[in-house]
């Protein structure tokens, strides 16, 4: 799953995704169970961040997530050599941190273990410290998939553009893999 799709899901949950893209995303979620699960997970994280989950002290989770994200930012700032990549990773890192914190919170709620809840409350009063493991991306081998209709159109159109435009159009076909995620074609 591409970073762009994740961003779209996140924007959708925040109500910031354009209507047309909402339709595409929903259509895709109906077909793609992994996407659907990701949506559920993000929704859960969003609820957690907004303290919508019952049973947690008001503001606790949000503060911890914000602290974690802030910690990531400081880390990224220190990584001067990889500054650009660091900036790109910040949102993903933030989401990863939020995910780990939310999972802890949800598990504690679901298990109903008061000790865990107490520990969480106690942790909020301690100087900020946390550990988390960045989840390994699940690798799925590429499978044969038909090109999208838009890719077909672009390849065809590239023959009918001027010299400069033709090269430019071909570059777009090469680099814009994200559009194939948005508009999968089914024959």
């Amino acid at each position: 799953m591409s970073e762009k799709i994740r961003d779209q899901i996140s924007a959708f949950i925040d109500g910031e995704l354009p209507v047309r893209e909402c339709d595409l995303l929903l259509r895709r979620m109906r077909r793609d169970s992994e996407l659907s699960l990701t949506f559920d997970r993000f929704g859960l994280i969003g609820d957690a961040i907004r303290d919508s989950l019952s049973g947690l002290p008001q503001g606790l989770l949000r503060n911890r997530v914000m602290q974690a994200v802030q910690g990531e930012r400081q880390f990224a700032d220190r990584a001067g050599t990889w500054r650009r990549r660091g900036r790109m990773l910040q949102p993903a890192a933030g989401v990863a941190v939020a995910a780990s914190v939310a999972v802890v919170a949800v598990l504690s709620l679901r298990t109903g273990d008061p000790a865990l809840q107490d520990a969480a409350v106690a942790a909020s009063t301690e100087p900020f410290a946390y550990t988390y493991t960045v989840p390994e991306p699940s690798y799925s081998p590429p499978v044969t998939a038909p090109p999208t209709r838009l890719t077909n159109y672009l390849v065809n159109h590239s023959q009918y553009t001027n010299t400069l435009g033709r090269k430019s159009m071909q570059m777009r076909i090469l680099v814009d893999q994200s559009e194939t995620d948005e508009q999968p074609e089914r024959e």
């Binding site: 047309r20 339709d23 259509r27 590429p142 499978v143 044969t144 998939a145 038909p146 090109p147 209709r149 838009l150 890719t151 077909n152 159109y153 672009l154 390849v155 065809n156 159109h157 590239s158 023959q159 009918y160 553009t161 001027n162 010299t163 400069l164 435009g165 090269k167 430019s168 159009m169 071909q170 570059m171 777009r172 076909i173 090469l174 680099v175 814009d176 893999q177 559009e179 194939t180 948005e182 508009q183 999968p184 074609e185 089914r186 024959e187």
Partner: protein, 329 residues
Amino acid sequence: MRHKRSRFILFATCALGLTLAQASEQDARAWLERMARAMDELNYQGVFVHMHDGRAETLRVVHRNEGGRVAERLVSLDGVGREIISTQDEVQCILPDKRAVLVETRTDLNPLVSAVPIYSQTLDRHYRLRMMGMSRVAGRPTQNVAVLPRDSYRYGYLLWLDEATAMPLKSQLRDEDGNIVEQILFASIAFGDEIPRSALQPSIDTDGYTWYRADEKSSAAARSGTTLWRAARVPEGFELQVSNRQVLFGSRFPVEHLVYSDGLASVSVFVESAESDPDPLDGLSRVGAANAYTTRVAGHQVTAVGEVPASTVEIIAESVQPQTLDARR
């Protein structure tokens, strides 16, 4: 007497300014002609960066001209490493992420390819051409040329052309307000007499990939269709250049393909039955600087796509209508 002299100076200044502007325009046109020839005729290989929407991708190009037979290989050095290999006969797009190869057979139906670039006087109505001084790119001196759109229905270019060869070492696609839509910048480029044929071979083993190519029989049958589609409204300067019916690769359904061009920018319109796609495009889509707009007309899906602003593809797509035989041109 003094008034007469002042008027003469004013007139002479205006005349000189006009002459210089015309000279600049003629020079720019000559450089653009040289550029187009250089891009096709020279042997070169290089690495360049393609930037748009805050993203940057690195690509390698290998271009070979052997006795007028031109072949080119474009490779994305980032991501999954897609490749496009173009020859006189066909264009192959190798998509490792889809384990697919798209093959587009080149036809002789394209008057644009043979005639392009058409940097003719008619372009003056829609673009201004200007020489923009000199600078350096990738360690080479350049002559800089601007192609400026006169309205918001087309993009313009700023080009940094290699002084020795006229190859565009840097180019910026810009909208009417001067905002950069897309930028291409060579990090390195080498010109040479000999490019080995092996340099044009794909680096990807395509064993097990699915090959998508247009079915010739279906295309022939498609061409016998009688329905005509035309855009009733196009921005000034865009004229119909190509109209044909074909079956695109990976599809079983015929597509009507129209190409409108103002001599520099072009827009393709694809019309196909709405039933051919259970999950159709809808509204505006964007791929890099290219915009596409899809709408439905009389049970058909109409998509206009081109390297033009969104408003241009929308206007054209929304005006496409089927025509009766009497309305044929």
